[in-house]
Protein backbone atom coordinates (compact mmCIF):
# COMPACT_ATOMS: atom_id res chain seq x y z
CA UNK A 1 0.00 0.00 0.00
CA UNK A 2 2.70 2.46 -0.94
CA UNK A 3 0.87 3.80 -3.97
CA UNK A 4 0.62 7.52 -4.59
CA UNK A 5 -3.15 7.17 -4.47
CA UNK A 6 -2.99 5.73 -0.94
CA UNK A 7 -0.55 8.36 0.27
CA UNK A 8 -2.56 11.21 -1.21
CA UNK A 9 -5.75 9.86 0.40
CA UNK A 10 -4.15 9.50 3.83
CA UNK A 11 -2.47 12.90 3.62
CA UNK A 12 -5.65 14.61 2.47
CA UNK A 13 -7.81 12.99 5.15
CA UNK A 14 -5.30 13.65 7.91
CA UNK A 15 -4.91 17.30 7.00
CA UNK A 16 -8.67 17.73 6.76
CA UNK A 17 -9.14 15.97 10.10
CA UNK A 18 -6.51 18.05 11.86
CA UNK A 19 -7.94 21.29 10.45
CA UNK A 20 -11.46 20.28 11.44
CA UNK A 21 -10.27 19.20 14.89
CA UNK A 22 -8.49 22.50 15.43
CA UNK A 23 -11.59 24.38 14.32
CA UNK A 24 -13.88 22.37 16.56
CA UNK A 25 -11.50 22.66 19.52
CA UNK A 26 -11.22 26.41 19.04
CA UNK A 27 -14.99 26.81 18.88
CA UNK A 28 -15.39 24.62 21.95
CA UNK A 29 -12.82 26.46 24.01
CA UNK A 30 -14.15 29.83 22.97
CA UNK A 31 -17.65 28.84 23.89
CA UNK A 32 -16.52 27.39 27.16
CA UNK A 33 -14.62 30.47 28.23
CA UNK A 34 -17.48 32.74 27.22
CA UNK A 35 -19.95 30.77 29.29
CA UNK A 36 -17.65 30.62 32.34
CA UNK A 37 -16.77 34.27 32.45
CA UNK A 38 -20.11 35.80 31.67
CA UNK A 39 -23.09 33.89 32.96
CA UNK A 40 -26.46 35.33 31.75
CA UNK A 41 -27.76 35.82 35.27
CA UNK A 42 -25.06 38.31 36.31
CA UNK A 43 -27.05 41.25 34.99
CA UNK A 44 -30.23 39.72 36.38
CA UNK A 45 -28.63 39.76 39.83
CA UNK A 46 -28.09 43.49 39.61
CA UNK A 47 -31.56 44.69 38.76
CA UNK A 48 -34.00 41.79 38.99
CA UNK A 49 -33.36 40.39 42.47
CA UNK A 50 -36.46 42.24 43.63
CA UNK A 51 -39.33 39.94 42.75
CA UNK A 52 -41.94 41.34 45.15
CA UNK A 53 -41.30 45.00 44.10
CA UNK A 54 -40.57 46.44 47.54
CA UNK A 55 -37.43 48.12 46.31
CA UNK A 56 -35.16 45.85 48.18
CA UNK A 57 -33.72 42.54 47.43
CA UNK A 58 -34.70 40.16 50.12
CA UNK A 59 -32.40 37.29 51.21
CA UNK A 60 -34.89 34.71 49.91
CA UNK A 61 -34.94 36.52 46.63
CA UNK A 62 -31.10 36.35 46.44
CA UNK A 63 -31.40 32.67 47.22
CA UNK A 64 -33.70 32.20 44.27
CA UNK A 65 -31.22 34.03 42.01
CA UNK A 66 -28.47 31.80 43.29
CA UNK A 67 -30.59 28.77 42.42
CA UNK A 68 -31.27 30.17 39.00
CA UNK A 69 -27.53 30.68 38.50
CA UNK A 70 -26.88 27.09 39.51
CA UNK A 71 -29.53 25.90 37.11
CA UNK A 72 -28.12 27.97 34.30
CA UNK A 73 -24.57 26.70 34.86
CA UNK A 74 -25.80 23.10 34.91
CA UNK A 75 -27.78 23.64 31.69
CA UNK A 76 -24.74 25.27 30.03
CA UNK A 77 -22.42 22.53 31.11
CA UNK A 78 -24.82 19.95 29.81
CA UNK A 79 -25.05 21.69 26.40
CA UNK A 80 -21.29 22.04 26.13
CA UNK A 81 -20.91 18.42 27.07
CA UNK A 82 -23.36 17.38 24.32
CA UNK A 83 -21.69 19.61 21.84
CA UNK A 84 -18.30 18.08 22.58
CA UNK A 85 -19.66 14.61 22.05
CA UNK A 86 -21.39 15.52 18.80
CA UNK A 87 -18.27 17.29 17.57
CA UNK A 88 -16.07 14.29 18.30
CA UNK A 89 -18.53 12.00 16.55
CA UNK A 90 -18.76 14.36 13.59
CA UNK A 91 -14.95 14.50 13.41
CA UNK A 92 -14.80 10.72 13.27
CA UNK A 93 -17.44 10.57 10.52
CA UNK A 94 -15.69 13.40 8.67
CA UNK A 95 -12.41 11.43 8.75
CA UNK A 96 -14.03 8.30 7.34
CA UNK A 97 -15.95 10.20 4.64
CA UNK A 98 -12.82 12.14 3.67
CA UNK A 99 -10.92 8.86 3.34
CA UNK A 100 -13.52 7.56 0.94
CA UNK A 101 -13.85 10.80 -1.04
CA UNK A 102 -10.06 11.19 -1.17
CA UNK A 103 -9.65 7.63 -2.42
CA UNK A 104 -12.18 8.13 -5.21
CA UNK A 105 -10.94 11.57 -6.28
CA UNK A 106 -7.26 10.68 -6.25
CA UNK A 107 -8.12 7.58 -8.25
CA UNK A 108 -9.85 9.66 -10.89
CA UNK A 109 -7.07 12.23 -11.06
CA UNK A 110 -4.36 9.59 -11.25
CA UNK A 111 -6.07 7.26 -13.74
CA UNK A 112 -4.31 8.85 -16.81
CA UNK A 113 -0.99 7.96 -15.15
CA UNK A 114 -2.14 4.38 -14.98
CA UNK A 115 -2.96 4.50 -18.69
CA UNK A 116 0.42 6.04 -19.53
CA UNK A 117 2.14 3.33 -17.51
CA UNK A 118 0.13 0.57 -19.18
CA UNK A 119 1.00 1.80 -22.68
CA UNK A 120 4.67 2.28 -21.80
CA UNK A 121 4.65 -1.21 -20.35
CA UNK A 122 3.26 -2.77 -23.53
CA UNK A 123 5.57 -0.97 -25.90
CA UNK A 124 8.47 -3.00 -27.11
CA UNK A 125 11.37 -1.83 -29.20
CA UNK A 126 10.00 -3.60 -32.24
CA UNK A 127 6.48 -2.22 -32.03
CA UNK A 128 6.32 1.47 -31.37
CA UNK A 129 2.99 1.94 -33.11
CA UNK A 130 0.95 2.25 -29.88
CA UNK A 131 0.04 5.70 -28.57
CA UNK A 132 -1.52 6.88 -25.28
CA UNK A 133 -3.99 9.24 -27.01
CA UNK A 134 -5.19 10.65 -23.68
CA UNK A 135 -8.62 12.32 -23.91
CA UNK A 136 -9.97 15.03 -21.64
CA UNK A 137 -9.03 18.55 -20.60
CA UNK A 138 -5.78 20.10 -21.67
CA UNK A 139 -4.11 19.82 -18.27
CA UNK A 140 -0.67 18.79 -17.01
CA UNK A 141 -1.31 15.07 -17.45
CA UNK A 142 -2.65 15.51 -20.98
CA UNK A 143 0.47 17.49 -21.81
CA UNK A 144 2.62 14.73 -20.32
CA UNK A 145 0.79 12.10 -22.38
CA UNK A 146 1.05 14.21 -25.56
CA UNK A 147 4.78 14.71 -24.98
CA UNK A 148 5.14 10.99 -24.51
CA UNK A 149 3.20 10.33 -27.75
CA UNK A 150 5.42 12.79 -29.62
CA UNK A 151 8.52 11.06 -28.33
CA UNK A 152 7.14 7.68 -29.38
CA UNK A 153 6.41 9.00 -32.87
CA UNK A 154 9.98 10.26 -33.24
CA UNK A 155 11.39 6.98 -31.92
CA UNK A 156 9.13 5.04 -34.26
CA UNK A 157 10.30 7.06 -37.26
CA UNK A 158 13.95 6.64 -36.25
CA UNK A 159 13.52 2.89 -35.81
CA UNK A 160 11.84 2.58 -39.18
CA UNK A 161 14.63 4.48 -40.90
CA UNK A 162 17.11 2.25 -39.11
CA UNK A 163 15.45 -1.02 -40.00
CA UNK A 164 14.91 0.09 -43.60
CA UNK A 165 18.61 0.91 -43.73
CA UNK A 166 19.62 -2.44 -42.27
CA UNK A 167 17.41 -4.31 -44.70
CA UNK A 168 18.82 -2.28 -47.63
CA UNK A 169 22.37 -2.90 -46.45
CA UNK A 170 21.84 -6.64 -46.02
CA UNK A 171 20.24 -6.75 -49.45
CA UNK A 172 23.27 -5.01 -50.92
CA UNK A 173 25.59 -7.47 -49.20
CA UNK A 174 23.60 -10.49 -50.36
CA UNK A 175 24.20 -9.91 -54.04
CA UNK A 176 28.00 -10.21 -53.91
CA UNK A 177 27.58 -13.09 -51.45
CA UNK A 178 25.37 -14.88 -53.96
CA UNK A 179 27.96 -14.27 -56.66
CA UNK A 180 30.67 -15.87 -54.52
CA UNK A 181 28.53 -18.74 -53.31
CA UNK A 182 27.18 -19.71 -56.74
CA UNK A 183 30.52 -19.45 -58.52
CA UNK A 184 32.23 -21.54 -55.86
CA UNK A 185 29.39 -24.10 -55.82
CA UNK A 186 29.45 -24.46 -59.59
CA UNK A 187 33.19 -24.96 -59.85
CA UNK A 188 33.29 -27.28 -56.81
CA UNK A 189 30.56 -29.51 -58.20
CA UNK A 190 32.33 -29.86 -61.53
CA UNK A 191 34.62 -32.93 -61.45
CA UNK A 192 36.20 -31.82 -64.72
CA UNK A 193 37.00 -28.25 -63.64
CA UNK A 194 40.22 -27.03 -65.21
CA UNK A 195 42.81 -24.78 -63.55
CA UNK A 196 41.48 -22.03 -65.79
CA UNK A 197 37.94 -22.53 -64.40
CA UNK A 198 39.37 -22.19 -60.89
CA UNK A 199 41.24 -19.07 -61.90
CA UNK A 200 38.10 -17.53 -63.37
CA UNK A 201 36.21 -18.31 -60.18
CA UNK A 202 39.02 -16.75 -58.14
CA UNK A 203 38.80 -13.55 -60.18
CA UNK A 204 35.02 -13.39 -59.78
CA UNK A 205 35.33 -13.94 -56.02
CA UNK A 206 37.91 -11.16 -55.79
CA UNK A 207 35.67 -8.74 -57.68
CA UNK A 208 32.79 -9.58 -55.36
CA UNK A 209 34.86 -9.20 -52.19
CA UNK A 210 36.22 -5.85 -53.45
CA UNK A 211 32.67 -4.68 -53.85
CA UNK A 212 31.75 -5.87 -50.38
CA UNK A 213 34.79 -4.14 -48.89
CA UNK A 214 33.79 -0.84 -50.49
CA UNK A 215 30.26 -1.27 -49.23
CA UNK A 216 31.44 -2.06 -45.71
CA UNK A 217 33.78 0.98 -45.80
CA UNK A 218 30.88 3.21 -46.79
CA UNK A 219 28.62 1.72 -44.14
CA UNK A 220 31.29 2.46 -41.55
CA UNK A 221 31.64 6.00 -42.88
CA UNK A 222 27.89 6.49 -42.43
CA UNK A 223 27.94 5.00 -38.95
CA UNK A 224 30.85 7.23 -37.96
CA UNK A 225 28.80 10.28 -38.93
CA UNK A 226 26.41 9.36 -36.14
CA UNK A 227 29.12 9.04 -33.50
CA UNK A 228 29.77 12.12 -31.42
CA UNK A 229 33.57 12.22 -31.72
CA UNK A 230 33.89 14.35 -34.83
CA UNK A 231 36.74 16.82 -34.66
CA UNK A 232 36.15 20.52 -34.86
CA UNK A 233 39.42 21.96 -36.20
CA UNK A 234 40.18 25.16 -37.99
CA UNK A 235 40.60 24.17 -41.64
CA UNK A 236 41.15 25.74 -45.03
CA UNK A 237 38.44 24.38 -47.36
CA UNK A 238 40.32 25.58 -50.41
CA UNK A 239 43.47 23.67 -49.37
CA UNK A 240 41.41 20.52 -48.67
CA UNK A 241 39.88 20.72 -52.16
CA UNK A 242 43.33 21.13 -53.68
CA UNK A 243 44.61 18.09 -51.76
CA UNK A 244 41.68 15.90 -52.85
CA UNK A 245 42.02 17.07 -56.47
CA UNK A 246 45.70 16.05 -56.34
CA UNK A 247 44.77 12.58 -55.04
CA UNK A 248 42.48 12.06 -58.03
CA UNK A 249 44.88 13.13 -60.74
CA UNK A 250 46.19 9.60 -61.30
CA UNK A 251 42.68 8.09 -61.48
CA UNK A 252 41.50 10.82 -63.85
CA UNK A 253 44.63 10.52 -66.00
CA UNK A 254 43.89 6.83 -66.51
CA UNK A 255 40.60 7.88 -68.09
CA UNK A 256 42.16 10.79 -70.00
CA UNK A 257 40.10 13.21 -67.88
CA UNK A 258 41.87 16.42 -66.82
CA UNK A 259 41.20 18.01 -63.45
CA UNK A 260 41.44 21.80 -63.65
CA UNK A 261 41.65 23.75 -60.39
CA UNK A 262 40.41 27.28 -59.71
CA UNK A 263 40.75 27.53 -55.97
CA UNK A 264 41.77 31.13 -55.17
CA UNK A 265 41.90 32.46 -51.61
CA UNK A 266 42.01 30.45 -48.34
CA UNK A 267 38.56 29.66 -46.93
CA UNK A 268 38.68 29.13 -43.15
CA UNK A 269 35.97 26.78 -41.92
CA UNK A 270 35.51 24.67 -38.78
CA UNK A 271 35.18 20.92 -39.02
CA UNK A 272 36.62 17.45 -39.32
CA UNK A 273 39.30 17.37 -42.00
CA UNK A 274 39.00 13.67 -42.76
CA UNK A 275 35.23 13.85 -43.09
CA UNK A 276 35.33 16.92 -45.34
CA UNK A 277 38.00 15.32 -47.49
CA UNK A 278 35.84 12.25 -47.82
CA UNK A 279 32.85 14.36 -48.89
CA UNK A 280 34.93 16.16 -51.53
CA UNK A 281 36.47 12.87 -52.67
CA UNK A 282 33.05 11.27 -53.11
CA UNK A 283 31.88 14.23 -55.20
CA UNK A 284 35.06 14.27 -57.27
CA UNK A 285 34.93 10.49 -57.70
CA UNK A 286 31.44 10.81 -59.22
CA UNK A 287 32.52 13.71 -61.43
CA UNK A 288 35.50 11.74 -62.80
CA UNK A 289 33.38 8.59 -63.14
CA UNK A 290 30.71 10.29 -65.24
CA UNK A 291 33.03 12.57 -67.21
CA UNK A 292 33.39 11.48 -70.84
CA UNK A 293 36.90 10.51 -71.95
CA UNK A 294 38.99 13.56 -72.84
CA UNK A 295 36.75 16.07 -71.04
CA UNK A 296 37.77 18.29 -68.11
CA UNK A 297 36.48 18.16 -64.53
CA UNK A 298 36.63 21.57 -62.83
CA UNK A 299 37.20 22.02 -59.10
CA UNK A 300 36.59 25.62 -58.05
CA UNK A 301 36.16 27.33 -54.68
CA UNK A 302 35.13 30.74 -53.41
CA UNK A 303 33.13 32.68 -50.85
CA UNK A 304 29.88 34.57 -50.76
CA UNK A 305 27.81 36.18 -47.99
CA UNK A 306 29.70 34.46 -45.16
CA UNK A 307 29.61 31.04 -46.86
CA UNK A 308 32.50 29.11 -48.41
CA UNK A 309 31.84 26.91 -51.42
CA UNK A 310 33.58 24.20 -53.45
CA UNK A 311 32.08 23.35 -56.83
CA UNK A 312 32.78 20.21 -58.89
CA UNK A 313 31.70 20.30 -62.49
CA UNK A 314 31.69 17.52 -65.07
CA UNK A 315 30.56 17.38 -68.68
CA UNK A 316 28.87 13.99 -68.45
CA UNK A 317 25.36 13.02 -69.40
CA UNK A 318 23.80 14.97 -66.54
CA UNK A 319 20.98 14.12 -64.13
CA UNK A 320 17.28 14.48 -64.87
CA UNK A 321 15.12 16.67 -62.62
CA UNK A 322 13.31 13.75 -60.99
CA UNK A 323 16.57 11.92 -60.30
CA UNK A 324 18.06 15.03 -58.68
CA UNK A 325 15.62 14.59 -55.79
CA UNK A 326 16.69 11.00 -55.22
CA UNK A 327 20.44 10.93 -55.81
CA UNK A 328 21.14 11.73 -52.14
CA UNK A 329 19.04 8.79 -50.91
CA UNK A 330 20.88 5.81 -49.53
CA UNK A 331 21.41 2.96 -51.99
CA UNK A 332 19.83 4.88 -54.83
CA UNK A 333 21.35 4.16 -58.23
CA UNK A 334 20.19 5.21 -61.63
CA UNK A 335 21.35 2.07 -63.38
CA UNK A 336 22.37 -0.64 -61.00
CA UNK A 337 24.42 -2.63 -63.46
CA UNK A 338 26.45 0.31 -64.65
CA UNK A 339 27.05 1.59 -61.13
CA UNK A 340 28.18 -1.84 -60.04
CA UNK A 341 30.66 -2.17 -62.83
CA UNK A 342 32.05 1.22 -61.84
CA UNK A 343 32.11 0.11 -58.23
CA UNK A 344 29.54 2.36 -56.52
CA UNK A 345 27.87 1.29 -53.31
CA UNK A 346 24.99 3.72 -53.73
CA UNK A 347 26.02 5.42 -50.50
CA UNK A 348 28.51 8.04 -51.74
CA UNK A 349 26.18 11.01 -52.02
CA UNK A 350 24.26 10.19 -48.85
CA UNK A 351 27.61 10.26 -47.03
CA UNK A 352 28.32 13.68 -48.57
CA UNK A 353 24.94 14.91 -47.41
CA UNK A 354 25.54 13.55 -43.89
CA UNK A 355 28.94 15.24 -43.67
CA UNK A 356 27.53 18.55 -44.96
CA UNK A 357 24.72 18.44 -42.40
CA UNK A 358 27.18 17.75 -39.58
CA UNK A 359 29.06 20.91 -40.54
CA UNK A 360 25.84 22.98 -40.75
CA UNK A 361 26.40 23.05 -44.48
CA UNK A 362 24.55 22.09 -47.64
CA UNK A 363 25.14 20.19 -50.88
CA UNK A 364 23.45 21.45 -54.00
CA UNK A 365 23.24 19.97 -57.44
CA UNK A 366 22.42 21.60 -60.71
CA UNK A 367 22.21 19.68 -63.93
CA UNK A 368 20.41 19.22 -67.18
CA UNK A 369 20.48 15.98 -69.13
CA UNK A 370 23.26 16.15 -71.69
CA UNK A 371 24.80 19.25 -70.16
CA UNK A 372 26.85 17.78 -67.32
CA UNK A 373 26.36 18.34 -63.60
CA UNK A 374 27.64 20.74 -60.93
CA UNK A 375 27.75 19.73 -57.27
CA UNK A 376 28.43 22.49 -54.74
CA UNK A 377 29.37 21.99 -51.10
CA UNK A 378 28.53 25.07 -48.98
CA UNK A 379 29.97 25.53 -45.47
CA UNK A 380 29.60 28.51 -43.15
CA UNK A 381 32.84 30.56 -42.93
CA UNK A 382 34.65 30.64 -39.61
CA UNK A 383 34.47 33.94 -37.64
CA UNK A 384 32.01 35.50 -40.05
CA UNK A 385 28.30 36.12 -39.66
CA UNK A 386 26.31 34.13 -42.20
CA UNK A 387 22.67 33.74 -43.13
CA UNK A 388 20.91 30.54 -42.21
CA UNK A 389 21.06 29.41 -45.84
CA UNK A 390 23.81 29.98 -48.39
CA UNK A 391 23.03 32.40 -51.22
CA UNK A 392 20.81 31.09 -54.01
CA UNK A 393 23.54 30.97 -56.56
CA UNK A 394 25.38 28.25 -58.47
CA UNK A 395 29.05 28.97 -59.16
CA UNK A 396 29.89 29.09 -62.85
CA UNK A 397 26.48 27.90 -64.01
CA UNK A 398 24.42 29.72 -66.58
CA UNK A 399 21.13 28.17 -67.57
CA UNK A 400 21.87 24.83 -65.92
CA UNK A 401 18.40 24.62 -64.48
CA UNK A 402 17.22 25.31 -60.94
CA UNK A 403 19.52 24.12 -58.18
CA UNK A 404 18.32 21.43 -55.86
CA UNK A 405 19.49 21.72 -52.30
CA UNK A 406 20.05 19.06 -49.71
CA UNK A 407 18.88 19.28 -47.00
CA UNK A 408 15.93 21.04 -48.61
Amino acid sequence: MRSVRFRITILYSTVLFVLAAVLVAALYLALLSTLRHEPSFTRLTDFAADFNGDGESQPNERLLITDLRGFERAANENTVENMREYALGALGVLFLVSLGVGWVISGRVLSPIGRITDVADHIQATDLSRRIELQGPHDELKRLADTFDGMLARLDAAFQVQSRFISDASHELRNPLAVIRTNVDVVLSDPNATPDDWRQTGLVVRRATDRMSRLVDDLFALARLESPNMRNDRLDLSALASEVAGDFEAVAGGKDVTISKDLGVPLPVAGDGDALKRALANLLDNAVKFAPTGSPVTVSAGRMDGWAWVALRDHGEGISAEDQIRIFDRFWRKDRSRSRSSGGSGLGLSIVRGIAELHSGFVRVSSRPGRGAVFVLWLPMLDEPADEHPPDWMPGVSGAGPARQVPA
Partner: protein, 230 residues
Protein backbone atom coordinates in the same frame (compact mmCIF):
# COMPACT_ATOMS: atom_id res chain seq x y z
CA UNK B 1 14.49 -28.38 -71.16
CA UNK B 2 15.21 -24.77 -71.88
CA UNK B 3 15.77 -22.16 -69.21
CA UNK B 4 16.07 -18.37 -69.32
CA UNK B 5 18.25 -16.86 -66.58
CA UNK B 6 17.34 -13.19 -65.95
CA UNK B 7 19.92 -11.59 -63.64
CA UNK B 8 21.67 -8.24 -63.83
CA UNK B 9 24.74 -9.43 -61.90
CA UNK B 10 26.83 -10.65 -64.79
CA UNK B 11 29.10 -12.76 -62.57
CA UNK B 12 26.10 -14.50 -61.03
CA UNK B 13 24.21 -14.99 -64.30
CA UNK B 14 27.20 -16.59 -66.00
CA UNK B 15 27.84 -18.98 -63.10
CA UNK B 16 24.18 -20.05 -62.94
CA UNK B 17 24.11 -20.53 -66.72
CA UNK B 18 27.31 -22.54 -66.67
CA UNK B 19 26.11 -24.79 -63.85
CA UNK B 20 22.71 -25.35 -65.47
CA UNK B 21 24.25 -26.11 -68.86
CA UNK B 22 26.36 -28.76 -67.18
CA UNK B 23 23.12 -30.24 -65.85
CA UNK B 24 22.00 -30.64 -69.44
CA UNK B 25 19.66 -27.67 -69.74
CA UNK B 26 19.64 -25.30 -72.68
CA UNK B 27 20.26 -21.91 -71.05
CA UNK B 28 19.88 -18.34 -72.31
CA UNK B 29 20.83 -15.27 -70.27
CA UNK B 30 19.23 -11.81 -70.04
CA UNK B 31 20.70 -8.94 -68.05
CA UNK B 32 17.58 -6.77 -67.90
CA UNK B 33 13.80 -7.06 -67.91
CA UNK B 34 13.19 -5.67 -71.38
CA UNK B 35 15.62 -8.08 -72.99
CA UNK B 36 14.07 -10.98 -71.05
CA UNK B 37 10.59 -10.02 -72.27
CA UNK B 38 11.86 -10.01 -75.86
CA UNK B 39 13.43 -13.44 -75.44
CA UNK B 40 10.30 -14.93 -73.86
CA UNK B 41 8.26 -13.73 -76.83
CA UNK B 42 10.64 -15.36 -79.32
CA UNK B 43 11.78 -18.58 -77.64
CA UNK B 44 9.71 -21.14 -75.76
CA UNK B 45 11.18 -21.61 -72.31
CA UNK B 46 10.23 -24.29 -69.85
CA UNK B 47 11.41 -22.19 -66.93
CA UNK B 48 12.54 -18.64 -66.19
CA UNK B 49 14.96 -17.93 -63.31
CA UNK B 50 14.00 -14.39 -62.45
CA UNK B 51 15.79 -11.79 -60.32
CA UNK B 52 13.50 -9.13 -58.82
CA UNK B 53 15.62 -5.99 -58.88
CA UNK B 54 16.30 -5.67 -62.58
CA UNK B 55 17.09 -2.61 -64.67
CA UNK B 56 14.41 -1.34 -67.05
CA UNK B 57 11.60 -3.76 -66.15
CA UNK B 58 11.70 -5.34 -62.71
CA UNK B 59 11.18 -9.04 -62.13
CA UNK B 60 7.81 -8.74 -60.42
CA UNK B 61 6.39 -6.67 -63.26
CA UNK B 62 7.82 -9.16 -65.75
CA UNK B 63 6.21 -12.07 -63.87
CA UNK B 64 2.86 -10.26 -63.85
CA UNK B 65 3.06 -9.60 -67.57
CA UNK B 66 3.99 -13.21 -68.30
CA UNK B 67 1.02 -14.40 -66.26
CA UNK B 68 -1.45 -11.83 -67.55
CA UNK B 69 -1.56 -13.63 -70.88
CA UNK B 70 -1.24 -10.50 -72.99
CA UNK B 71 2.22 -11.54 -74.14
CA UNK B 72 2.36 -13.68 -77.22
CA UNK B 73 4.75 -16.55 -76.47
CA UNK B 74 5.57 -19.20 -79.05
CA UNK B 75 3.00 -22.03 -78.95
CA UNK B 76 1.27 -20.12 -76.14
CA UNK B 77 3.87 -21.51 -73.75
CA UNK B 78 3.69 -20.41 -70.13
CA UNK B 79 7.07 -21.06 -68.55
CA UNK B 80 7.50 -21.89 -64.88
CA UNK B 81 8.90 -18.93 -62.94
CA UNK B 82 11.49 -19.34 -60.19
CA UNK B 83 12.21 -16.05 -58.44
CA UNK B 84 15.79 -15.68 -57.36
CA UNK B 85 16.29 -12.62 -55.24
CA UNK B 86 18.04 -11.00 -52.33
CA UNK B 87 14.71 -9.81 -50.91
CA UNK B 88 13.97 -12.37 -48.25
CA UNK B 89 11.22 -10.93 -46.04
CA UNK B 90 8.03 -13.00 -45.87
CA UNK B 91 6.11 -10.13 -47.49
CA UNK B 92 8.56 -10.14 -50.42
CA UNK B 93 8.01 -13.87 -50.89
CA UNK B 94 4.24 -13.45 -50.72
CA UNK B 95 4.34 -10.59 -53.23
CA UNK B 96 6.57 -12.58 -55.61
CA UNK B 97 4.40 -15.69 -55.47
CA UNK B 98 1.24 -13.62 -55.89
CA UNK B 99 2.75 -11.96 -58.95
CA UNK B 100 2.90 -15.36 -60.58
CA UNK B 101 6.13 -17.00 -59.46
CA UNK B 102 5.94 -20.77 -58.98
CA UNK B 103 8.77 -20.84 -56.48
CA UNK B 104 11.00 -18.42 -54.61
CA UNK B 105 14.64 -18.82 -53.64
CA UNK B 106 16.57 -16.24 -51.61
CA UNK B 107 20.14 -15.21 -52.39
CA UNK B 108 22.68 -16.41 -51.54
CA UNK B 109 21.49 -19.94 -52.32
CA UNK B 110 23.02 -23.38 -52.51
CA UNK B 111 23.45 -24.27 -56.15
CA UNK B 112 22.30 -27.85 -55.55
CA UNK B 113 19.11 -26.46 -54.00
CA UNK B 114 18.55 -24.34 -57.09
CA UNK B 115 18.89 -27.33 -59.41
CA UNK B 116 16.65 -29.46 -57.14
CA UNK B 117 13.95 -26.77 -57.24
CA UNK B 118 14.26 -26.49 -61.01
CA UNK B 119 13.87 -30.26 -61.35
CA UNK B 120 10.83 -30.17 -59.07
CA UNK B 121 9.22 -27.36 -61.07
CA UNK B 122 9.86 -29.09 -64.38
CA UNK B 123 8.41 -32.35 -63.04
CA UNK B 124 5.13 -30.58 -62.48
CA UNK B 125 4.83 -30.05 -66.22
CA UNK B 126 5.65 -33.66 -66.96
CA UNK B 127 2.88 -34.73 -64.61
CA UNK B 128 5.25 -36.99 -62.72
CA UNK B 129 6.37 -36.73 -59.15
CA UNK B 130 9.63 -38.69 -58.94
CA UNK B 131 13.18 -37.70 -59.76
CA UNK B 132 13.40 -40.92 -61.75
CA UNK B 133 11.48 -41.03 -65.02
CA UNK B 134 10.53 -44.44 -66.39
CA UNK B 135 9.20 -45.41 -69.75
CA UNK B 136 9.15 -49.09 -70.67
CA UNK B 137 12.66 -50.44 -70.23
CA UNK B 138 14.14 -46.93 -70.05
CA UNK B 139 14.99 -45.25 -66.75
CA UNK B 140 16.30 -41.74 -66.33
CA UNK B 141 17.52 -40.33 -63.01
CA UNK B 142 17.28 -36.54 -63.31
CA UNK B 143 19.24 -35.99 -60.12
CA UNK B 144 22.20 -38.31 -60.75
CA UNK B 145 22.18 -37.61 -64.45
CA UNK B 146 22.20 -41.25 -65.34
CA UNK B 147 20.06 -43.24 -67.74
CA UNK B 148 19.67 -47.00 -68.14
CA UNK B 149 18.01 -49.38 -70.57
CA UNK B 150 17.16 -52.81 -69.13
CA UNK B 151 19.26 -51.74 -66.10
CA UNK B 152 22.36 -51.36 -68.25
CA UNK B 153 23.90 -47.90 -68.03
CA UNK B 154 23.80 -45.65 -71.07
CA UNK B 155 26.76 -43.39 -71.79
CA UNK B 156 25.11 -40.19 -72.95
CA UNK B 157 26.54 -36.76 -73.70
CA UNK B 158 24.81 -33.84 -71.87
CA UNK B 159 22.87 -32.98 -75.05
CA UNK B 160 21.76 -36.58 -75.62
CA UNK B 161 20.73 -36.81 -71.98
CA UNK B 162 18.73 -33.59 -72.28
CA UNK B 163 17.08 -34.89 -75.44
CA UNK B 164 16.14 -38.21 -73.83
CA UNK B 165 14.85 -36.31 -70.79
CA UNK B 166 12.58 -34.22 -73.02
CA UNK B 167 11.33 -37.33 -74.87
CA UNK B 168 10.66 -39.16 -71.61
CA UNK B 169 8.71 -36.29 -70.07
CA UNK B 170 6.40 -36.43 -73.13
CA UNK B 171 6.01 -40.15 -73.95
CA UNK B 172 3.95 -41.09 -76.99
CA UNK B 173 3.79 -37.46 -78.14
CA UNK B 174 4.96 -36.56 -81.60
CA UNK B 175 7.73 -33.97 -81.19
CA UNK B 176 8.81 -31.92 -84.18
CA UNK B 177 12.41 -31.04 -84.92
CA UNK B 178 11.52 -27.38 -84.27
CA UNK B 179 10.09 -28.17 -80.87
CA UNK B 180 13.14 -30.21 -79.92
CA UNK B 181 15.39 -27.40 -81.09
CA UNK B 182 13.35 -24.92 -79.07
CA UNK B 183 13.43 -26.86 -75.82
CA UNK B 184 16.72 -28.74 -75.83
CA UNK B 185 19.05 -26.28 -77.56
CA UNK B 186 19.72 -22.66 -76.53
CA UNK B 187 19.59 -19.61 -78.74
CA UNK B 188 23.14 -20.17 -79.95
CA UNK B 189 22.05 -23.24 -81.94
CA UNK B 190 21.79 -22.68 -85.65
CA UNK B 191 18.26 -23.64 -86.74
CA UNK B 192 19.46 -24.49 -90.25
CA UNK B 193 21.90 -27.25 -89.31
CA UNK B 194 21.05 -30.90 -88.94
CA UNK B 195 22.00 -30.81 -85.25
CA UNK B 196 18.65 -32.22 -84.05
CA UNK B 197 18.66 -35.06 -86.58
CA UNK B 198 22.27 -35.93 -85.82
CA UNK B 199 21.73 -35.95 -82.06
CA UNK B 200 18.56 -38.06 -82.37
CA UNK B 201 20.49 -40.49 -84.53
CA UNK B 202 23.35 -40.93 -82.07
CA UNK B 203 20.84 -41.24 -79.20
CA UNK B 204 18.96 -43.95 -81.03
CA UNK B 205 22.19 -45.80 -81.69
CA UNK B 206 23.05 -45.74 -77.99
CA UNK B 207 19.54 -46.90 -77.01
CA UNK B 208 19.65 -49.86 -79.39
CA UNK B 209 19.66 -53.28 -77.68
CA UNK B 210 19.64 -56.63 -79.48
CA UNK B 211 16.22 -58.22 -79.53
CA UNK B 212 14.43 -55.08 -78.34
CA UNK B 213 12.53 -52.57 -80.43
CA UNK B 214 13.91 -49.05 -80.96
CA UNK B 215 12.06 -46.78 -78.51
CA UNK B 216 12.32 -43.60 -80.61
CA UNK B 217 10.47 -43.88 -83.88
CA UNK B 218 10.39 -41.45 -86.78
CA UNK B 219 6.97 -40.10 -87.70
CA UNK B 220 7.43 -39.25 -91.34
CA UNK B 221 6.84 -35.60 -92.09
CA UNK B 222 6.15 -34.69 -88.42
CA UNK B 223 9.06 -35.61 -86.22
CA UNK B 224 9.84 -38.21 -83.57
CA UNK B 225 7.98 -40.13 -80.91
CA UNK B 226 9.10 -42.05 -77.83
CA UNK B 227 7.12 -45.27 -77.55
CA UNK B 228 6.05 -45.56 -73.92
CA UNK B 229 5.88 -49.37 -74.09
CA UNK B 230 9.34 -49.96 -75.55
Amino acid sequence: MRILVVEDEHDLASAVAKGLRREGYAVDVSYDGDDALGKVMVNSYDLVCLDVNLPKLNGRALARRLRSGDIATPEGASPRILMLTALDEPEDRVAGLDDGADDYLAKPFDFSELTARIRALLRRDAGRSGVVLQSGTLKLDTRRHSATRCDAALRLSPKEFALLHYFMSRPDEVLSQEELLEHVWDENADPFTKTVRVTVMTLRRKLQRDGLPQPIETVVGSGYRLLGAA
